[in-house]
């Protein structure tokens, strides 16, 4: 039997992706860059979902066929697609009105 990969390796990679995405979302000036950071965070969360699907015991309940992790990941991917579409449409719309995509220029509501 080959030595297998421990679960926490996957979780560590997921945490690294999440953290990098968080840094990008917090530190980027460009709104598209912020969106990219958010996509990275979603990917990190998705790796966790799939890793848990593979490794963690499923309570043997009625009618469960144990694909929850993958179903969850698919839902997240679909939501990420929707989020990207709406987010980028917003960014393009703002760019048309204000000629800028830098988030610090969008602070007119601060008063």
């Amino acid at each position: 039997m080959e030595a297998s990969i421990p679960l926490w390796w996957y979780l560590l990679v997921a945490a690294a992706l999440f953290g990098t995405g968080l840094f990008g979302a917090l530190s980027r000036r460009n709104a598209v860059g912020v969106l990219m950071g958010i996509e990275l965070m979603l990917n990190g969360a998705n790796i966790n979902a799939v890793a848990f699907w593979r490794y963690i015991a499923v309570p043997s309940g009625a009618g469960l066929n144990g694909m929850d992790g993958q179903v969850f990941a698919i839902m997240v991917i679909a939501l990420a697609a929707a989020e990207a579409a709406v987010g980028l449409a917003l960014i393009i719309s703002i760019y048309r009105n204000r000629q800028s995509v830098l988030v610090e220029d969008f602070s007119t509501m601060r008063g």
Binding site: L7, L11, A16, G19, G33, I92
Partner: protein, 199 residues
Amino acid sequence: MMEMLAFGLVAGVAVGGAIGVVAARNVFVSALWLVLSFIGVAGIYAILGADFLAATQVLIYVGAISVLILFAVMLTHHVMGDERSNNRQAFLAFIVSSSVVAALGVLAYRTDWPIRPADAGGSVVTAMRGDLAGSSAASTAAQTGASTALTSTVDLALNQDSNVVRLGQALMTEHLLSFEIISLVLLVALIGAIVIARD
């Protein structure tokens, strides 16, 4: 050992791509790093045995979301220029995010996860071995008697993609409601994006 090598490769691609995303000065280049990171994540799904999800990841993230992002970069950005890419809170953000990574890593390592007992220790490998055994049986059956053993080959072919079949069944039975809701969300997002981007 070899499996770990494969894992190291795809994990390196995923994390390296992510670091490239936040380190690149140009937004377009950073989007290209993002694509690399997505491909690495697809590789991680593949090693975890979620084949369908890996292909979906490539199809949706690389083929659609990255394209959207690159289009947005091209439509909004001064396409050719470099500029200062991080804001003033970058240092603070670095501290916050690295402490999040450290906390999550320690938690992941220290927690006593309830690993599935049936194939503890070698879950991926045993599951993979099962798949491969099915496949080799199918191919030998296909070789030996094309006309006689065909029904069994087809049965085996159906067993091979049981993971995909099970995922489809899960989406159409216990997760049907969320499936419908996600379809509705996608429709609303589609219409919303068109309306916002048009005027």
